[in-house]
Amino acid sequence: MTVDTAEAGPDILCAGLVRIFTAQGVEVQALQGLELRVERGEMVALVGASGSGKSTLLTILAGLDTPTAGSARVAGHDLVAMRAPERLEYQRSSVGFVWQQSGRNLLPYLSAAENVGMAHAVAGVVPRARRRAVTDELLELLTVGDVADRRPDQLSGGQRQRVAIAVGLANDPRVLLADEPTGELDEATSADVLAAMETVNRERGVTTLIVTHDPAVAEHVDRTVRIRDGRTSTETLRTTHVDEAGRSVRVAVEYAVLDKAGRMQFPAEFTQALGLRERVRLSLEPDRVEVRPGDAVVPPPEAGRGRHRAASDDGERS
């Protein structure tokens, strides 16, 4: 095993991740060289259109699938080189997850507490004597302690997902993965569940990766990674600062992502606005790189603006 808990590196590190599905001769490239880095204790949202490969990525990170090429390290485990025993060990103690459908998270015939117990029983990581205390503590933390003895069909959608989070955390993993955990919930409940995840992330220091296409989620996290066509395209970083009037303002800045080979994706609106197609002209300025339509001989007058989009106006109070 190559568990290296002392390692100070990131908890999730994907480089050049490729996953190709083959079915009856038809190839689908779900991931095409994805790059992702999540630091320890960080909470990151992963957004992207349907079919962009988000679930594929999470399935790989959960150790349920293996990439076709590239490298993926989570919590010190090399997911590519990992053999069966290590994979089991990894799933049991290093990673927890929450899926969109409660059917994939919870067994319908077990109560909330028993579902947590089942995660304990399967993994055998938490000592028997402590399991009960751990269960109670987790359910309490996620404010579902009062419904511990109810079965999933007796719970509301929000409660169900919070129980699912508790199950995901049962074995005290370093990383929590969530694939559209709020996909089936209404807005208010979504906010609740996301708040619960924030709490968990803050109080337990669990590295958290949430897949979503719900823009509201993005507001809860400091970093949002967007993937497009199986590749990381942009990242948005949010910071909170106090403005001149003493108000707390959240500022989001969106960055394009440059991969190791120096490639980057342009947002569609950029390429459309300037009619960038096929060939473009690049020029290196002292502090920036300029990209111009390939057929334009004369640089457009406005070409000096860097690719910054300050968005202080869409900020909100925290």
Binding site: Q24, S93, R104, Y109, E114, M118, V122
Partner: protein, 901 residues
């Protein structure tokens, strides 16, 4: 929070296993019923075989089946320790009876179990008893005087008194009322009996008795004690025969003339104690017993005592019964493989249903890090819980009800119990595996090659087995496993064929012009083409089920026809008369009976001495009239072939010989009574002419060269006129043939054979197998459709959104199974038709049908009905399953889309 158990692994597994109680109950029921039938059948078969064996033994006369020895002389008098005899006999007979009892203590236990209390009697030779006054009109009587130590327990004197030992004066004896009447013997009357050596013995009747129990089988050893016999000698006055009892303690009188006394000893065979399960050892023990003479002190005039050899026809009857038992066992095993295979398919389908229910939990557990071993273990434990409890419950119930024993009883229950233990983890892990796309299972070239290899291997094995069985190259003791598994092998080849053929045909349909076929014509074949997993089960069920059903039906017809033709061969004509002696007048009156078209007497039958250069034999010589016999047997397929050479004059005597004799003779020259004979033809050894197996038949014209007495007819074959009632004519003929004559018709012989419990038992099993495979087939087809319901309903939901009217939906269901069933049905029929031709020659069926010829295969009237019957069952199953499936899944469809993958 409540104290409810925070489930541990076991608790969770139990909870998980109890979430689908209906399915679990269903699987439980299938295992239990299979185990029950599997455990009960051996008992039923064993019981039937035992009954059949007892029936055959019961049909032979007790005097023949009991172990009888007889010796000239009287037993040596003596008291014995504890012979259990009446007081009056102990002193004289005790020693001998004690000796017999002691001997039986040393018998093989198998033999000791079936032999009753030994018996011993001494008879003064039958001789005519003359009235003291000549020609006083008393009937002629031939008296056998019997000394029976136990007679006083069997008779009750109703008039006069019991005989007593006498020192002087006439020897006392008692007769039964009917015998005394027939002999015209008054109580107190004295008659004289001339004995060898010029001795004249006077005897006096002291009393008349009645049997205590006239139905006691023991009377069979004293045939004329209860009722008189009659000897007729042409024109002479008839002689009445009978057995009279002298005082057993008076044996000394007889001992004085040992050359006139025959002592008969026997161990009665207790037929109800015979059991088919140990029949083989029993027959062997019996043969050994007959072969090793018993030493018992006998006062005899012979200097050299050979000991007593006890003989019986029982070992022969049992051995013949054993061939019947063995072929029945083989047949039942062979037929049982069909329902068993389909039951296992159904069970596998049931476990697949359970496995599908477990899929979400399995996937979840896998994702949480449950190892494959753990998941398989939990499923196996669940399978074991179902299999073991159901298998034990059904097995024990079946064993108790069937009353069978031996490991064979546990075989099917064990198989049924193990199936879920293996199938549940296997299918569970398989269905939980993530497939790239549910509708397009990826088959690698390697997997395809493996499948082809497996199929080729199967075909090769089946072909080899068929060749081995058909060629009869193997001689296997008992049940040949190859014969038993052959039907399943052939059916499996049929399945392979069908499974190869169906996709090919579907592809053809798919490729055919799509425009004319509309939506369903497009979707139906496309789906059927892409769900191969669901096709295996119904194909297997249909092919195996139909094959076994067709075979069972054809087999029943074959045996039925075999009995008819064997009966016909045994009687040899429309009616056969067997009498003690038929005179010329009687023959003539038989020929003149209304309804009789022709007669063919066997003019004489005599056991004769025959010689071969290598050995001496005894041969039965039958005297026939070639023209008469030809006429009577004309048009009969089992007629004895009588070549014209039989009528040749001069040279060696031309004869037809039995096959058994001809085989023995080979190319040597047979000499009968000093005359060389020429075997000009051979015939089946078992013949209507008589009971001998090594015989020759000679025409009347040459008979005097082999026999001295050429006219002593006792058997006559009658040919009836068309339209004559055989039963009525047979009765007329019997009455015209004197006392003791027996008339047989093919129908009466056939009826006798059909009474054999083995036959009715076999028919029941054949019928049971047909019903079982039909029921299982319906289940298999139904379950296949229910299994496919989820994906079908999802598609139907889609199609109805596109505007498919609901009434068109059943067509989709039909498309799912119809192609496979339509191809499988004729394949099953073909396999079923091939089976009897392959299997029947490999089984010895003569035990069932009588005669010695293996019956020819007949399909019978019912076989063609099996196919539409199965089709109807299948259609019914499809309809019911489609209805059930819609009910079951309608509510779940939308929710389960994600989980069903």
């Amino acid at each position: 929070m409540s104290a409810r158990a925070r489930a541990g692994a076991v608790g969770i597994a139990v909870r998980s296993a109890t979430t689908s109680p209906l399915l679990t109950l269903f699987a439980f029921t299938v295992v239990a019923v299979t185990a029950f039938i599997g455990a009960a059948t051996p008992g039923f078969v064993q019981r039937t075989q035992t009954e059949s064996l007892r029936f055959a033994l019961e049909r032979t006369a007790p005097a023949q089946r009991d172990f009888v020895a007889s010796v000239r002389g009287t037993p040596e008098p003596g008291a014995g320790r504890d012979p259990g005899l009446p007081a009056e006999s102990v002193a004289v007979w005790g020693g001998s009876v004690q000796g017999l009892l002691d001997a039986s203590r040393g018998f093989d236990p198998a033999l000791a179990e079936v032999l009753g209390r030994p018996r011993i009697v001494s008879d003064l030779d039958p001789a005519e008893a003359y009235s003291l006054v000549k020609n006083d009109g008393t009937p002629r009587s031939q008296l056998t005087l019997r000394y029976d130590p136990e007679y006083s327990t069997r008779v009750r004197f109703v008039e006069g008194r019991a005989p007593q030992p006498v020192q002087e004066g006439p020897l006392e004896f008692g007769l039964s009322t009917p015998v005394a009447q027939a002999m015209g013997w008054e109580i107190g009357a004295v008659r004289t009996i001339p004995r060898p050596g010029g001795i004249v013995q006077s005897v006096v009747l002291t009393g008349v008795w009645e049997p205590v129990d006239a139905s006691d089988r023991d009377w069979d050893h004293a045939p004329t004690a209860l009722a008189p016999g009659l000897i007729e000698h042409g024109l002479e006055l008839p002689v009445h025969t009978g057995v009279g009892y002298a005082a057993p303690a008076d044996l000394g009188t007889a001992a004085a003339m040992p050359q006139s006394v025959v002592t008969t000893l026997w161990y009665p065979l207790e037929v109800p104690a015979v059991d088919a399960r140990h029949a083989g050892e029993l027959a062997a023990a019996m043969r050994l017993f007959s072969a090793v003479p018993l030493d018992l002190p006998i006062v005899s005039s012979a200097i050299y005592s050979r000991g007593l050899a006890f003989t019986s026809t029982a070992p022969l009857t049992i051995t013949q019964g054993l061939t019947r038992i063995e072929s029945m066992t083989a047949l039942v095993a062979l037929i049982a493989t069909g329902p068993l295979a389909v039951a296992i398919v159904v069970l596998a389908l049931a476990t697949r249903m359970i496995a599908l229910r477990r899929r979400p939990s399995l996937r979840l557990a896998e994702a949480r890090g449950a190892s494959t071993r753990l998941r398989a273990g939990v499923l196996a434990a669940e399978g074991l819980a179902i299999g073991a409890t159901a298998g034990a419950a059904g097995g024990v119930a079946g064993m108790l009800l069937g009353g069978g024993d031996g490991p064979v009883v546990a075989l099917v229950p064990a198989l049924a119990a193990l199936t879920p233990v293996i199938a549940l983890p296997a299918t569970g892990l398989l269905v939980a595996k993530r497939r790239a796309r549910a509708d397009a299972p990826a088959t690698s070239p390697a997997a395809r090659r493996l499948r082809l290899l497996a199929e080729l291997a199967l075909v090769a094995v089946a072909a080899t087995a068929t060749v081995l069985v058909v060629s009869g190259a193997r001689s296997v003791e008992g049940v040949d496993p190859l014969v038993v598994t052959l039907p399943l092998l052939l059916a499996a080849v049929g399945c392979v064929l069908t499974l190869r053929l169906v996709p090919f045909l579907l592809a053809l349909v798919e490729r055919g012009s799509p425009r004319r076929r509309g939506l369903l014509g497009l979707i139906g074949p496309a789906r059927a083409h892409r769900e191969p997993a669901l096709r295996v089960a119904p194909v297997l069920a249909v092919v195996v089920g139909v094959a076994i059903a067709v075979f069972s039906s054809a087999f029943a017809a074959t045996v039925g026809d075999g009995i008819v033709s064997a009966a016909r061969g045994e009687v040899g004509a429309d009616v056969r008369i067997s009498a003690r002696y038929l005179n010329a007048d009687q023959l003539e009156s038989l020929a003149r009976l209304s309804g009789v078209a022709a007669v063919a007497p066997v003019y004489a039958d005599e056991q004769s001495r025959a010689e071969l250069p290598s050995a001496d034999l005894t041969v039965m010589v039958y005297v026939i009239d070639v023209a008469e016999l030809r006429r009577v047997q004309e048009g009969d397929p089992s007629a004895i072939a009588l070549p014209d050479a039989l009528l040749e004059t001069g040279g060696a005597v031309p004869v037809v010989a039995s096959q058994q004799l001809a085989d023995r003779v080979g190319d040597e020259t047979l000499v009968i009574e000093g005359r060389p004979v020429d075997i000009v033809g051979t015939a089946v050894s078992q013949t209507p002419l008589g009971s001998a197996r090594t015989w020759v038949a000679v025409d009347r014209s040459r008979a005097d060269e082999l026999l001295s007495t050429t006219f002593s007819p006792s058997t006559v074959l009658l040919d009836l006129e068309p339209g004559a009632d055989p039963v009525a004519v047979a009765e007329q003929a019997r009455l015209a043939s004197g006392t003791g004559a027996v008339a047989a018709t093919p129908a009466s012989v056939e009826r006798e054979h059909r009474e054999d419990p083995a036959l009715s038992g076999l028919q029941l099993i054949l019928l049971g197998a047909i019903v079982a495979v039909a029921a299982l087939l319906a289940l298999a087809v139904g379950m296949t459709l229910v299994l496919g319901a989820a994906s079908r309903d999802r598609m139907l939901a889609l199609l109805s959104a596109l505007g498919l009217p609901r009434r068109r939906e059943p067509a989709i269901v039909v498309w799912e199974v119809a192609p496979a069933v339509i191809v499988a049905l004729p394949v099953g029929v073909l396999a079923g038709l091939a089976l009897p031709f392959v299997v029947v020659p490999a089984l010895d069926l003569t035990g069932f049908v009588g005669g010695e010829l293996q019956p020819a295969v007949h399909l019978g009237a019912w076989t063609p009905l099996v196919v539409p019957g199965f089709l109807a069952v299948t259609i019914l199953a499809v309809l019911v399953a489609a209805f059930v499936a819609r009910r079951v899944t309608a509510a779940r469809t939308l929710r389960s889309i994600d989980e069903e993958g």
